[in-house]
Symmetry: C2
Subunit: 400 residues, 2 copies
């Protein structure tokens, strides 16, 4: 649905442009903003008045002279607003109050303890209630990363198997209860936006994050914006068949990527291998193959155990193959892995990159580097906040 253009939209766009410029540059003068954005100096001044009236920008001192009057530096007033970020993709529901710079100010964690359906929904309310109570500056809104199929446009959780949710109109529910803007997306998508916004800058406007946890999925940022498909489903690479007649998957099909690369699969494959390799360190680290956990695998891998390496090599090859399919569809781009698998380091990356190079057009795989995200366990929490920043303030860091 294409829409008409108005003066109001022009102003909103330019306001977001100025705000994004200050956000990205840290400290910058009005004159420099004008040079960077190609807006005129009067326009920049005008917009800055608005942004300062909202408290989003503040003057912070003077720059040294460059041959004339010293410039007044502006910066984002990071604590002018509170963002609520919610991560529903763990065993415990987590939320945090986050400032505009992505600094976590306050955390709340509520154990799920097997709850699902309405009880789980109540827990979300509890989480948000607690966070709102702790807020110390005006709330910008609520950003949510949730597992399952999420219709980000309409704010509906179409399906989240492990929470036993179907067609949960979470945006409507929360907006009516809290009267705040609410944005949501799939946990992997949110993670990608988090890395894009708060991760170590790579100046790329396209980014794919493959998150490996209980599930496997990809979040896709194209041209600086989250790509969620129409209306949903982008990046659901965990549920494409990669092993003919493979294991059954909770999605109903067989041999899905998830069945051979998620954390449970890694553990199960390692357990099977440990039984056949009595000399493996694995059998020293665990009393019995069945007692092998993900942590055991990490430990054995760190010790150089060949069985663990074998499992991780195959996981890497599967992820590399998935990356190949991603880049022949999207074109070459940076692909970052997230989740607990980061502990397998360069060995995993090498296996993945090798598979990618073998399996995709050289011109594309050459420009596609596989690496790890630069963020830790808070990636979804911060990604949810990033979603809010993007949607509500038009934050849209543009590098290069």
């Amino acid at each position: 649905m294409t829409k008409k253009a108005t003066h109001e939209q022009t102003r909103i766009h330019n306001t977001q442009l100025v705000f994004s410029t200050v956000y990205e540059r840290g400290e910058i003068s009005r004159a420099e903003i004008a040079r960077v954005t190609h807006l005129t100096r009067p326009t920049v001044s005008d917009v800055v008045v608005d942004l300062m009236a909202q408290g989003l920008l503040e003057e912070v001192g003077r720059a040294p002279s460059t041959g004339g009057k010293r410039a007044i530096l502006l910066r984002v007033n990071a604590d002018a607003r509170c963002l609520i970020g919610i991560d529903l993709a763990r065993e415990d529901f987590r939320g945090a109050l986050i400032n505009l710079h992505g600094e976590i100010k306050h955390r709340v964690s509520l154990p799920l303890q097997g709850r699902d359906g309405t009880a789980a929904l109540e827990l979300v309310y509890e989480l948000v209630d607690a966070l709102i109570k702790a807020a110390c500056s005006p709330l910008l809104g609520i950003g949510i990363g949730t597992p399952g199929l999420v219709d980000a446009v309409n704010g509906v959780i179409y399906q989240a198997v492990n929470l036993n949710w179907r067609d949960i109109h979470l945006r409507t529910l929360l907006q009516e209860r809290y009267n705040l803007p609410v944005y949501m997306a799939n946990d992997c998508q949110v993670a990608a936006l988090g890395e894009y916004t708060f991760g170590e800058n790579s100046s790329a406007r396209d980014l794919v994050v493959i998150h490996v946890g209980k599930g496997v999925g990809a979040g896709i940022v194209l041209n600086g914006r989250l790509f969620h498909g129409n209306p949903l489903g982008a990046g659901e690479i965990g549920h494409v068949t990669v092993v003919e007649n493979g294991e059954h998957c909770q999605c109903g099909n067989t041999g899905c990527l998830e069945t051979v690369t998620n954390s449970r699969a890694i553990v199960r494959q390692t357990q099977a291998l440990a039984q056949r390799a009595p000399q493996s360190i694995l059998n020293q680290l665990a009393p019995h193959p069945d007692a092998i956990t993900f942590e055991t695998v990490c430990e054995a891998f760190a010790e150089g155990d060949e069985a663990a390496r074998q499992v991780i090599r195959e996981v890497g090859q599967h992820l590399g193959a998935a990356a190949a399919h991603l880049i022949v569809v999207l074109g070459g781009c940076r692909i970052l892995l997230a989740g607990r698998i980061t502990c397998f380091g360069q060995f995993l990356l090498d296996a993945a990159q090798e598979a990618l190079n073998k399996r995709a057009l050289a011109a594309l795989s050459q420009t596609s580097e596989i690496g790890f995200v630069s963020m830790g366990a808070d990636i979804i929490l911060l990604g949810a906040a990033a979603l809010l920043l993007h949607e509500e303030l038009g934050l849209f860091p543009y590098n290069g």
Copy 2:
């Protein structure tokens, strides 16, 4: 690179919005445009004055009254401009003069006769020279669909193996020679845009066209715009490994999708099967298995030959698997097949759809229908014209 917004852009946007609305509706009054676009009536009148001055719109009569003054109907003046569409993806280079409605007014075809490199480039000049000579209304520009890896943003053919082209700055060359706007994209991408713009409307803003010819590739339209990757490479699904240790591909890897689904592969696989199945009709249609051509396969298939069906079934399964990878990356969407394989009809579609359903998340495959494009051999020619319309006039049909 995010840019500032200006009044000028606002006007351009609204002008394109009005033009697109008239284009899509065929005949429509100013008042109706205002209702559809939410622009005010005076603004629409103002914009229409401009568009009529450019000759792009014309008044065409009066609508019956709906309770008041009869409305003046507007329509696109289809012959107000000439589009040059170029198809470089065949044995002969083809070009056409096309009007704004996508009607081909004049054709030129120049046999390539094995030329490549500079000689092939000269042939492009010859083609355009001939078309410009035949133009009978102002030229809007040149749109080109070419095989190979194309950087559509910079107008560079990065690599076209069969023409022995590398880093051909075709846009610069043609713009300097003809002083006309030039746009280009990969042949598959252009085909997708052609189907999106001129095909039988399906009201979907997302569309994937998989073109099977000498090569195999996909063109992707997202949200009504061609998606070409950054800077290129989107939809190069022909060069992802689908058969472990499969045949060598011209791209350098082995077992690419292209090696098992392109037209040569179909012929080769049929030849092999014909040798092992002496009772097949194939051996009646051709004096010797080596003499089997693509047409022979079509004929045998039409007769219900089991060997041909077997080959086509497998091709369909491969294409369905490719579709599965496409939709788990892009989300569910309409996938249309193009090229000579359309002669295999519903049988091919069924094989593909079945594979898709088995191999991708049900929630996505259910919303993804595989079909054939509604256009014939001119799809690239018309797609090139569509590219020009989109880029130059902001044509952007929005359905729903």
